[in-house]
């Protein structure tokens, strides 16, 4: 059997080779296993954790905005949305059609939902409609057995109970624009809203709050399997405004008799704004759920600018209200005094040019108090001719006209106080004396906002303190205004001269004054102020010749603006206001009566006597 033995030996040798190969194979597997699990184990553990854990952002609830008494101006309402989850439906389109038979759903919404269903994994709920009314919610709940895959979810919707009355102050929220989304996961959440205007925009970061995180274990399809940990969201700060909401509404209703008007009422010492109204306005609630293009275009193109807050961003020639500044500039410069008088024949001649006083017959001999009371233009022409406009411009700036206050509304505008330097640098032209005359009575290039005029008056009547207006008091307990932690510095105007101007402003509301008809005679209450009428369009000689001099005959948008700045009471003033009636023709006829009602109301309500809510 040698041949057999040879065969066996050959088999044995070669089997050892094959066995060796197998052993090698198994060793390679063992080496590979040790490489994966021991050397690279940590890296793969991280990868496995990344696979497993999905962090979900929990959106914070937006902070409330309240008025000085804690009355809500912006809150969050539950917003019911109806969602469809494809994997729970038999046929998502059929489910949507069934839903349509239960509640009204636009065809466009159906198509949008179908598109989203196609794009998303089948377990992702897709929004079909939001802002569901209670009846709709109950109708859906009732029909749920016949609507597989349909769910109702409660989200949050920003709500503004005072609607158009506070629209310009509180602002509104909207979807995040793509530019803002950069790198912020919270902002990328579908449906997340940020402040788009006014206080909602300015204090957006405070109001937004802090997002929470929920760590979810997810499977390979991204579907959450269980919750691992939760870091709850922190609600946004509660923002307390200086506004008296009911008073704000009163002012808004009072202004609504006019086509277009604005008003500011503020505290002459602390700068708290009690009311800031621009009429007409809009309902910010219509923005929260998304406004239709048609409504938006209508708001945008309206000549009365309902989207703009004219009280802070409307720039008007201040007209005769500017004479307060001019008078103070003259008195402070020492060029004039209480007794300095001018004879007004109804005009002032500068070389060959004749500058008309508003009163064709003239005022006769007037001193500074009379000139303010009767709003004599000639007096101020003469004075400006004598002292030049640069001193007046300087005084205007010290009093806040043409200045930004870093007010709490981002829409604040600066206006303009021209002077010789400005003319030279910006226009590249020489300042003419005639411009001094026109600017001295608040015409020409002088532009200011109602907020600035109210602030100017406040500084005059509070004894010359550099008060600044503000709206936002506290974000939770954090004070936002310097007036809550300190005092305003002195501007450095003599009390004597301030008193002279105040005498003039008191005389405006007295017998013979331009706003006598709007005086406040209730016991213990009073008002001082100054009327103003600012030209939008000069009346040309040709028109004068044709006899088209009556403002009422002009188209609305060419008529004069009517202004009034007032303070109350006359002794120890607390409140200052500025009322502007756009194209209202005359300050004494259109603006002063409104100011009277507003200042009477604010003295009755006396918001200054109650400290800002949240102070304690």
């Amino acid at each position: 059997m040698d041949r057999d033995q040879e065969k066996i030996d050959s088999f044995t040798r070669r089997a050892f080779i094959v066995g060796g190969l197998q052993g090698f194979g198994l060793s390679v597997l063992g080496w590979r296993l040790s490489w994966l699990q021991l050397v690279e184990g940590e890296r793969y553990t991280t990868l496995a954790e990344n696979n497993r854990i999905n962090v979900r952002i929990i959106p914070p609830s937006r902070g409330q905005i309240v008025d000085r008494y804690g009355v809500p101006l912006a809150t969050n309402l539950q917003n019911f949305q109806v969602l469809v989850t494809q994997e729970q439906t038999e046929d998502s389109e059929k489910t949507l059609r069934d839903l349509q038979s239960v509640i009204t759903v636009d065809e466009a919404d159906i198509q949008k939902a179908l598109k989203l269903i196609k794009r998303n994994p089948s377990y992702v709920p897709v929004e079909v409609r939001d802002n569901l009314a209670w009846e709709d919610v109950s109708k859906i709940e009732l029909n749920l057995p016949h609507l597989p895959g349909v769910t109702v979810q409660a989200g949050e919707l920003r709500s503004y109970p005072y609607k158009d009355a506070t629209a310009h102050l509180v602002g509104y929220v909207g979807r995040v624009s793509d530019v803002d989304k950069m790198n912020d996961k919270l902002l990328s959440l579908p449906g997340f809203q940020v402040g788009k205007s006014a206080v909602e925009k300015k204090y957006d970061l405070d109001l937004r709050g802090k997002a929470g995180r929920a760590e979810m274990e997810v499977n390979v399809h991204g579907r959450p399997v269980r919750q691992l940990g939760i870091d709850p969201a922190i609600q946004g700060a509660r923002l307390v405004l200086s506004i008296d909401a009911e008073f704000q509404r009163f002012v808004q209703q009072r202004l609504s008799t006019e086509r277009s008007a604005s008003a500011v009422v503020m505290d002459v010492e602390t700068g708290e704004v009690y009311a800031c109204v621009s009429h007409p306005a809009f309902d910010p609630n219509s923005f929260s759920g998304g406004i239709s293009t048609m409504d938006w275009e209508q708001l945008r193109d309206d000549p009365t600018h309902p989207l703009n807050n004219k009280a802070i961003s409307g720039v008007y020639p201040p007209g005769s209200t500017f004479k307060i500044v001019t008078a103070l500039a003259g008195l402070e410069s020492g060029d004039i005094n209480r007794n300095w008088s001018v004879f007004c024949p109804g005009h002032y001649d500068l070389g060959k040019t004749r500058f008309h006083c508003w009163k064709a017959g003239g005022h006769g001999t007037v001193n500074v108090v009379d000139a303010l009371a009767h709003s004599c233009d000639t007096f101020f022409y003469k004075m400006a001719h004598q002292i030049g406009f640069d001193k007046i411009a300087q005084m205007a700036r010290r009093l806040g006209v043409g200045q930004l206050f870093d007010f709490d509304l981002p829409e604040e505008k600066a206006g303009l106080i021209p002077d010789t330097k400005w003319k030279r640098e910006v226009k590249g032209e020489v300042w003419h004396t005639g411009e001094s005359l026109v600017s001295a009575i608040g015409q020409g290039a002088v532009l200011s906002t109602p907020l600035q005029l109210a602030t100017m008056l406040s500084r005059v009547v509070n004894g010359g303190k550099e008060v600044k207006p503000w709206l936002a008091g506290f974000a939770n307990d954090k004070p936002l205004s310097i007036s809550l932690t300190g005092t305003f510095p002195e501007i450095g105007i003599s009390k004597r001269n301030l008193d002279i101007v105040r005498q003039g402003m008191e005389a405006v509301l007295q017998q013979g004054g331009t706003a006598y008809g709007s005086r406040i005679s209730e016991p213990g209450m009073s008002m001082g102020g100054k009327t103003g009428t600012s030209q939008v369009k000069r009346i040309t000689m040709a028109e004068r010749a044709r006899g088209v001099t009556r403002q009422e005959d002009l188209p609305w948008h060419l008529r004069h603006h009517a202004l009034f700045v007032g303070y109350a009471p006359t002794e120890n003033p607390k409140y200052a206001c500025c009322v502007v009636v756009d194209h209202g023709i005359g300050g004494s006829a259109a603006a002063a009566p409104i100011a009277k009602d507003i200042m009477l109301e604010v003295q009755k309500r006396d918001p200054k006597s109650k400290k800002l809510e949240g102070t304690g």
Partner: protein, 379 residues
């Protein structure tokens, strides 16, 4: 004679005597490997016997009976019916190609009503049997002649050709591996294998033309799994993450995150080793490799003990077959080899695979029992 003290008793062995001759050690190792499989399947279904583990246990118990049944058959019966079995397998393979049931993009099953028969699984066993039968009576001098390579070559390549056209590349390659190993140990000249390897390498570009699209994809994603991390490379990448994150001691029984969150594909079939190593770590993984190694060693021990060439070659060939499956499957889930769709024997969920593996071990046991039998020479 190397083995001088062995008894010659097989011809008149009693039933009890045969049972005593069963290599119980290997049976125990097989049962241990299967039990590890049950644990994995229990975990794969999220800690439940349903749907995998219970069915697999039933199959294993049935197959274990089959193993003993085959083990106790007289080897002469098997020896005589080799050609019949081999021919029958070829017939079934042709039948599958003609009327085969279409599933998974491949025609592999014959639906017999109760079970779906996979003739390619049978082919793995019967091809080895046929080669062992062929070389049993051959002289070494004849074996070394090139012209005598024709018949064994045909025996090996006929089922391969039929299996590959199904197409089932994995099984075809496994038959080639085992068959080549048998040709090698039978005594075919060494230089032929060197030549074969060289020509196989040269044939790769030609073979590439004949691959199906999904087979090409498998090879491409194996070469660069990161090229398509969410598509075809996903399986390999996730399997490696699962293995690696298991670490030294593993994540614990039923705690495998990759498995239970479904990041691991085919966890109950082809990727069952990954499941095990994720939950039991390096210790469990190496333990499993050692267990497989011991089963293979046992097969070699049996082959070396055999005193006739048929049983010797049969036990060897079937052992190689088992080891090829185990090594290729584990190499595949570790990202060392392309994903070829080969199950891990004894562990992966599946009826036919379990049945054929246990049949093979039954035959190995049969070889062990009848290691001293005299078998007639000749074709």
């Amino acid at each position: 004679m190397l083995i001088t003290h062995s008894r010659i008793h097989s011809d008149d062995m009693s039933f009890i005597g045969r049972i005593k001759q069963i290599a119980w050690g290997q049976v125990v190792l097989i049962c241990a490997l299967a039990c590890i499989g049950f644990l994995c399947l229990y975990s794969a279904s999220g800690g439940s016997l349903e749907p995998y583990a219970s069915a697999q246990i039933m199959r294993f118990l049935f197959s274990l009976g089959l193993l003993f049944g085959i083990a106790l058959i007289d080897i002469k019966w098997i020896f005589r019916s080799v050609w019949l079995l081999y021919g029958g397998t070829l017939f079934l393979l042709i039948l599958v190609d003609l009327l085969g049931h279409v599933g998974m993009g491949a025609q592999r099953w014959l639906d017999l009503g109760i079970i779906k028969l996979q003739p390619s699984e049978l082919a793995k066993v019967t091809t080895v049997m046929a080669l062992a039968r062929y070389y049993h009576g051959k002289e070494l001098a004849d074996i070394r002649k090139i012209k005598n390579l024709l018949i064994p070559g045909l025996i090996m390549l006929a089922p391969v050709a039929l299996v590959v056209t199904q197409p089932d590349l994995g099984t075809g390659m496994a038959i080639i591996f085992a068959g080549t190993a048998m040709l090698f140990v039978a005594g075919v000249p060494f230089w032929l294998f060197i030549l074969g390897i060289c020509s196989a390498v040269a044939a790769v570009p030609i073979a590439w033309q004949f691959l199906r699209e999904y087979q090409k994809n498998r090879v491409l994603t194996f070469l660069n799994p990161e090229s398509d991390p969410l598509g075809a490379g996903f399986h390999i990448t996730q399997s490696k993450i699962a293995l690696g994150s298991g670490g030294f001691t593993g994540k614990g029984f039923l705690e495998g995150t990759q498995t239970h969150l479904n990041f691991l594909p085919e966890k109950h079939t082809d990727f069952i080793f990954t499941l095990w190593a994720e939950e039991w770590g390096f210790l469990g993984g190496v333990g499993l490799l050692l267990l497989i190694g011991m089963i293979i060693l046992y097969g070699y021990w049996i082959a070396f003990r055999c005193r006739n060439h048929f049983t010797r070659l049969l036990a060897f060939g079937l052992t190689v077959n088992f080891s090829v499956y185990a090594i290729v499957n584990i190499g595949m889930v570790m990202g060392l080899l392309p994903v070829v769709g080969i199950p891990l024997p004894l562990m992966s969920y599946g009826g036919t695979a379990m049945l054929t593996v246990m049949m093979a071990f039954g035959l190995i046991q049969c070889c062990n029992i009848h290691r001293d039998s005299r078998l007639p020479r000749g074709f």
